[in-house]
């Protein structure tokens, strides 16, 4: 999956306009990033990558890129 595809997937998941999310965006400055978004991301990892992401890992994500790095 290319970086663009990863970003588009996250945009879709978080209900953000296509091609508006950047890798270096800090999650704390992203209004769409909340507890429900975190759960949607956890489900996406399970569905798309067969990976279980723990809540500690979720808490460890600082930027969008941190999430993308695990998407493989």
């Amino acid at each position: 999956m290319t970086n663009k595809e990863k970003l588009n997937l996250l945009e879709e998941l978080l209900d953000i306009g296509k091609d508006t999310l950047s890798e270096d965006k800090e999650l704390k400055n992203l209004s769409e990033w909340d507890s429900m978004a975190a759960i949607a991301v956890m489900a996406m990892f399970d569905d798309e990558f067969g990976k279980i992401i723990t809540s500690d890992e979720i808490r460890g994500f600082v930027t969008v890129k941190d999430i993308m790095d695990k998407m493989e």
Partner: protein, 348 residues
């Protein structure tokens, strides 16, 4: 391992009651903002739920359900050998609310009555416990009451919990019946006890002073619960089904704890079962804690007249962490229609 078959037991009737006090999620637009509320509805599926009046307890809702059920079955109160109440919102710290209900329902002094403290897994534990008791000499009829008024003790400003819970109470009548059986598995993972907790108000904090008022309210760690829901639950359910050769296509209806719609959909995907077979009540009743399984059954089957059997796989999971499953066959007509009531006990 707590997996097995319990023989000679049958569910004869199920009734569920909710407060006659509907709350729509959209009523929270002013507190959390319309966008957040819409997002909440999309994720959890909860459009509305029923909230108990200030004076109304879980026991009142269970009482209403039990009264109607005993009436429908024409069971004399004196014929009930045991009453089990499973709730996390009892009437008093002491005594057990089951004793109050034994009195209110006019059951015999020979009736066993006790409370159990469990939440989302309450119904499957309760069915197992009632069935186990029926396999004891001298116990033929058990009344299992499961209910909670989870909105008591909720932080109204916490969007994670303020809109999610519905209140309700249920009554299930079980009786010794030759030739009928059920299969069960039960599990516990106490390491996750802090994931859903009301920290204060009981003995552990009795010596502490100046506790924050929020410590008396429910806190829920959604992401840890979600991990548990998508790992332990499908894994153990699959293993249970495989152990007893339960073909997923043979199950007529899957009745899971109504945690939220997102979890229900994810579970159905992980188990490879179509959503059409997964009963859903959360959209109209919210997460009703331990009562969610009987309430969902009543919602789905409450107006059925057919005596045709239905094969059910139930799974309750959550606070504890505690979970389990029950596989059984029952008549489609055992559920009464939903009861809506604002009655409460005035003798306490």
């Amino acid at each position: 391992m707590a997996v097995g078959i319990l023989n000679n037991v049958e569910i004869k009737g199920i009734a569920a009651a909710v407060p006659d006090n509907e709350r729509k999620s959209e009523e929270y637009n002013d507190i959390f903002g319309e966008e957040s509320v819409q997002k909440f509805i999309k994720m959890t599926g909860i459009k509305k739920r029923y909230v108990a009046l200030e004076e109304q307890c879980a026991s009142d809702l269970c009482y209403a359900a039990a009264k109607k059920l005993l009436n429908k079955l024409a069971w004399e109160p004196s014929s009930i050998d045991a009453l089990i109440l499973i709730t996390q919102t009892p009437d008093y710290a002491i005594p057990a609310t089951a004793c109050v209900l034994q009195h209110r329902l006019g059951l015999s002094e020979d009736c066993i009555a006790f409370d159990v403290n469990l939440g989302c897994s309450a119904y499957v534990y309760g069915i197992w416990l009632a069935a186990t008791m029926i396999n004891t000499q001298g116990i033929n009829r058990v009344l299992l009451l499961v209910g909670d008024t989870s909105n008591y003790g909720i932080n109204q400003n916490d969007s994670a919990t303020a809109m999610i819970f519905g209140d309700g109470g249920s009554a299930t009548a079980l009786e010794r019946t030759e030739g009928k059986n059920l299969k069960y598995f039960l599990k516990t993972k106490g390491s996750g006890f802090k994931h859903i907790i009301v920290p204060a108000g009981h003995a552990r904090t009795r010596s502490k002073t100046n506790l924050e008022s929020s410590e008396y309210l429910l806190t829920m760690n959604g992401s840890d619960i979600f991990t548990f829901s998508i790992t332990d639950i499908p894994r153990t359910l699959k293993s249970f089904m495989s152990q007893y050769n339960i073909d997923k296509d043979d199950v007529d209806m899957y009745v899971f704890h109504q945690a939220n719609l997102f979890i229900l959909k994810h579970l159905s995907k992980k188990l490879g079962i179509p959503m059409e077979k997964v009963a859903v009540s959360i959209d109209r009743y919210g997460n009703t804690s331990g009562e969610s399984i009987p309430l969902t059954l009543v919602d789905a089957l409450g107006n059925e007249q057919s005596k045709e059997p239905i094969k059910l796989l139930m799974c309750g999971f959550g606070v504890g962490l505690s979970w389990g499953g029950i596989y059984l066959e029952m008549d489609r007509s055992v559920c009464l229609p939903m009861i809506y009531t604002n009655d409460y006990f005035t003798g306490g």
